[in-house]
Amino acid sequence: MSIKKEPDVKELLSCYHCGNDCDNSPIHFDEKIFCCEGCSLVYDILKENNLCTYYNFNNSPGTSQKKSTYKEQFAYLDDEKIKNKLVRFTNGKITSITFYLPQIHCSSCIWLLENLNRINPAIIKSLVNFNRKEATLTYIEEKVSLRQLVEMLSMIGYEPSINLNDSEEKKNSGDKKTTAYKIGIAGFCFGNIMLFSFPEYFSSGSYTGDGFKGVFSYLNFALSLPVFFYCSSQFFVSAANSLKQKFLNIDVPIALGILVMFLRSSYEIISGTGAGYMDTMAGLVFFMLIGRAFQNKTYETISFERDYKSFFPISVMIKKNNNETSIPVSDLEIGNRIIIRNEELIPADSVLIKGDANIDYSFVTGESMPVLVWEGQLIYAGGKQLGTSLELEVVKNVSQSYLTQLWNSSEYKNKNEESSFRQLVNRISHYFTIALIAIALASLGWWVSQNDLAKGLNAFTAVLIIACPCALAISSPFTLGNILRSFGRNKFYLKNYSVVEKLAKVDSIVFDKTGTLTKTNSSQISFTGKILNPEEKKMVRSLVHHSSHPLSRMLDEKLNDVSAIKSENYYEIPGKGIQANVFEVPIKIGSAEFVGVKTTPDTSSVKIYVSFDSKIRGYFSINNEYRQGIEILVGKLKQSGYDLTVLSGDHDGEKNNLETIFGREVSTHFNQTPADKLRFIQALQAQNKNVLMIGDGLNDAGALKQSDVGITISDNINNFSPACDGILNASSFDSLPGILKISEASHRIILGSFAIALLYNIVGLFFAVSGTLSPIIAAILMPISAVTIISFTTGLSNWYAQRKL
């Protein structure tokens, strides 16, 4: 990751602190220009404390300070319970805490945050981790409180993002360390055991002398102890768990192989009858640990689907006898009156008592435009208030609320799906293990019938050793990991592994039109009719501000120079228009039919009519601008034999344009409400089709969820929607055919690597059954098979990614 360089000062009127345009009223201070009070305040603090070097490393390194805060925002940090959850270490005098500061973006940030003790000398040490956007502060408890610390950080523009999940992440990093230790130790032992085994392999005993042989064998034995007892413990635990569930997962034959290898080798070394297979065992454990670590790393990078808890607030203000106190969210009870301020999440399902609720449910449904809620109505947990503060009464516990249930159920579902590739591996390994034990017993039986018990035992153990399915276990994590990473490079992010498999099965693709095929670009909007004065613009914006329709969003963006005001009797007919009263004037905005205009259809653009008090004022026309490369994309998809459909919530004015792009055979459906879209997908699925829905995640959340794979096209990948399985950056839209091809290929790559792994096993089994498996053959076969699988899967998936994307 490289430090983001701010572009050189492009205009005269860009803020000295944050670089934003000072469009309305620049603030002059100390011969510098600032866009807002907040920015100049930060500058003032830094100047006072001799920290202006901050501005030397990069131009305008700060972040905009326009977001408003309020005095009691961090009051909850005075609560001991919350504090104890957050701090990393404390001895009563000195405390250390790690904050996540999403604003960290350049070297100036590092410099400033590591020089915090100039602002407050009570901070002993501050250390930034740039990649993780974290700062660890160590401070003297007596001189500064946690709350003051956070307030100071947010005052200089680095407001920490604090959530309950923090404590769980610490545990996670501990797991990572354990894996690192295990890999290190296993690698060390593997290398040394292999070295000490060479004399045995490359010479007959006479040349090195018997004394050496003993020394080397015992050294190998000593080195294998940490591998067996420490590094491989997780395989035994997993195998034991799987046996408890009466199922043979991949770890059962692995654990069996390791156990037999260790016991037989120990016996050979102690009895002096052979050199044992210690190097094979150590190498096996080493390679498999690397496979696991790789898998975990991939899981980590694709976890854009975070736990709902990480979005949840940590505490909430409750109102009791006219006093406002803050309590941890977990202590919230039914009947509590809570105060929710601007930009705060609602922690539990509650009824609105007082205030203008304007709730953004983007986190729950994917709808990013706020919804109006009236007093007495229910507000679901997970909604975010935009606007003035609210008073709510809690009606459900945090754990029982709608959001938690939604997440828990989808989490459950995902877990099942997630393991589908692993299920394949486990299914194979189930029969593999049974076959393995059968072969081992058969060869034992055969040699016993030949009156050669020693050779029989030799063959029995050798089968279990050589068939240890290390290559089988590492093939799917490496293939899928590589594919997901190449998707990530092309700005396509998936919820989990199983989506790759489902993508491979897709046979029909449904596109949403507005916002997906077309760009949402407010510059394409023009108004025809008598020009609106600022007051009227305000009234128009007050309506469109509350609607989630892409066209409303475009209008809202277009009119962002005026602020929305309160509207009454707001009513929206999805796909038609919106109406409301502002200043007692009834306003209607929407389609010609909705507003009451009789026109001849003009196909060149979409028109949004506006009427004040039933008098038509004019219309906004929006030229549909299609995303680049759609024709090529459609051509490629058709060639690959996918069924294409376009669904649009707008009228059919665009039909001709769409037909020139998609061709006549592609069915297009207009005037579709979100519910229509959902039903359309269900109808396709009823015909046994695997549907890929591509939408913008805003007004087609239902359809995205219903489809087998729902992909959101987004210009901003942080635009989070639980309804979708993946997010594709709009700039990579044309790589969709490639993505589908690679998903198909992934299945073949995995099966191919299974075949290779089995081939090695068959070769090994040939030696094992005949009782002639020498340690050197095992020592050669095992690493070669692991390396072949890794290079096969990595090479092939990268080759596909390069060719297709």
Binding site: R88, S107, W111, E114, R132, S173, G184, I185, F188, F212
Partner: protein
């Protein structure tokens, strides 16, 4: 030839030293952040500040 045994013991001790160094580096979080130290070292110490920030690269908490 028995000198080889001595050599092997020494080489093993050396290798264990490296293993310990690796474990120590993981323990002291040196693997956690591979970017910030490279930026940090380029900051000049200003005259008014005596405290040397570069000393504090390792968190030992």
């Amino acid at each position: 030839m028995s000198i080889i045994i001595l050599l092997i013991i020494f080489s093993l001790i050396l290798a264990v030293g490296f293993l310990i160094a690796f474990i120590w580096s993981v323990r002291t979080n040196q693997m956690e952040d591979d970017y910030t130290p490279s930026v940090r070292i380029l900051f000049d110490n200003e005259l008014i500040e005596k405290k040397d920030k570069q000393e504090h690269t390792n968190t030992d908490i």
